[in-house]
Symmetry: C2
């Protein structure tokens, strides 16, 4: 295992210490239980947006804490759900009296632990609503998941609902917007290499030099199929066709195209794939009017990528365009 | 070779097409010769800041084109200097009448080609000054370099001199500021794995599973030594001690600490190393008042990292803090 770390068991805590040192003007980092809040939390009378999940997908979620996006993020151990008490502590810290929206990726552990945390928070008279993101069209009922996995759509949802909360939408309205994003977003990914979890010390799966995994999950869960490496043109088609089939994208629909690196894929390859995807969608009459390109939801050092398409309407587009200021996403 | 590409020879052009599609509101992408300008270039009466070099280090330089940073970037083939005519064409496109500052990393091909481009531009009555960045303390007279290599300091210099130009500094003043940054910046890097150049198809060097390269260059040039993998604490010390020895950093000095991923190193490891570095510097009385953490000058998919320290004064700090809006750096 080749990593720049000290003790494998301390990786998440040590990384959080580094985040605290790097962003003293933006973030407050709490340890035991581990969670990260924006430095000015709680923001009075604003709906708090809180997310979390296993570490190893950075910048998701800790890099998205800040004005216009998340009030708090709760990182678990690598690829492991955070505990309910950590989520509860984060909610208690950031709730500004207008309630809290929990953004949860659909993995069984996350869903259960956030559910328990919501009950604990409600017992303290904090209003809580939850949205579960399940945008991965690759497979159903995967490792540790009932239904579809939550992946890239989470990034877009956190940005958009964070903007709604910043604009003063109340909890039911934020929840409705989050559900609308969730209903209109679809993703699919692929991998060229496997990630290595620090406390495991070995790659999560084996791929031959000539193979790629189509439909891989962000915890290296198996995808739809393992096939021989192909050109970027064919890879893009393999990912976008199932997305277009799944949502009723129609000629003239307006979408946001998010081209995501799984971590180890460099910008040249990612932009190259993005360009191919734009041409593919244009040929099918899908109008891409907003874009995000970069490593925003990753799987440690895994080489690979994913596409996410979100159907936009006027309100979602305006919320996407609204200002955001976080370590990993700012405009 | 595992990459998401079509023909290896077309990687740079295909990636530029993707950048054009991804950032229509920010960038204008020119092909044959290849260069990228801010969408509103030329900006009248502002000094133009132009950089460039071999591709494969993204986001450097193309991702730094935009208001408050570069007016144009000229990407060569992967790890290969751009040609003088491409640089000349970019300068002609963005010069707004106040002259152009060329930012060049110290590699023999880059220095020669930018020198020729400067002569060609001057023959067209464009005022040109050049700064050559040579901040890598690891080695002297490396592969394709006389003197020290230009690495991470380039990112900081482009941000700071871009801000000076945006504020209306004239060409001699921009050049003086650039030389001040160059004089006060030092870097050193390391690698856990080798990158693979697309048109070569094989890793640039071989490292055993238990080895790392200390002092590696961003084109995978050899460093100072190849040693057994160590803890993050020891790696940080191996990189920062030579930097501190080289510049007269003294107790009480104010510095910017830039913790850079070479591409394949994920955020957890990078933040972890950043935290260790902050403690190391604090123990030595060096005051870190500004930080940058992320993959900003990379070597394709290479796993590894580098540190850059820049001595700050009031003016440099204010220029660092000034607004910037580019695909890869915005605040």
């Amino acid at each position: 295992m080749k990593k720049i770390i000290n003790a494998p068991a301390d990786v998440v805590t040590d990384a959080l210490r580094g985040m605290a040192a790097a962003h003293p003007d933006r973030l407050r980092v709490h340890l035991e239980p581990d969670f990260v809040t924006r430095v000015d939390a709680p923001v009075s009378d604003k709906v708090a947006v809180v997310s979390g999940g296993g570490s190893g997908h950075e910048p998701l979620h800790v890099g998205f804490v800040g004005s216009g996006m998340l009030d708090a993020a709760v990182p678990g151990a690598v690829f492991t759900s955070p505990t309910p008490d950590a989520v509860q502590a984060a909610v208690r810290e950031v709730d500004g009296g207008a309630g809290t929206l929990l953004v949860v990726k659909n993995y069984t552990g996350d869903v259960l632990n956030f559910e328990t945390a919501a009950e604990l928070a409600e017992a303290e008279d904090i209003g809580v609503r939850t949205v579960v993101v399940q945008d991965d069209v690759a497979v159903r009922d995967s490792t540790n998941t009932a239904g579809r996995r939550g992946v890239g759509g989470t990034v877009l949802l956190e940005k958009i609902v964070g903007a709604a909360a910043a604009r003063g939408h109340d909890l039911p309205s934020c929840h409705e917007i989050a559900e609308r994003v969730s209903a209109g977003v679809r993703s699919m990914g692929m991998a060229l290499t496997a990630p290595t979890v620090p406390h495991v010390g070995e790659p999560s799966f084996e791929l031959a030099d000539y193979e790629m995994e189509i439909g891989v999950g962000i915890h290296a869960e198996p995808g739809r199929e393992r096939v021989e490496l192909e050109s970027a043109d064919r890879i893009v088609r393999r990912l976008l066709e199932p997305i277009l089939e799944d949502l009723p994208f129609r000629e003239g629909d307006e979408v946001l195209l998010f081209t995501n690196s799984m971590g180890g894929t460099p910008p040249t390859e990612l932009y190259l794939a993005h360009g191919v995807a734009e041409r593919f969608l244009a040929e099918r009459g899908v109008r891409v009017t907003r874009r995000l390109v970069g490593p925003y939801i990753t799987s440690l050092e895994m080489q690979g990528m994913s596409f996410t398409l979100l159907k936009l309407d006027d309100e979602l587009r305006q919320l996407w365009d609204a200002p955001v200021s976080t370590p990993a996403l700012t405009w």
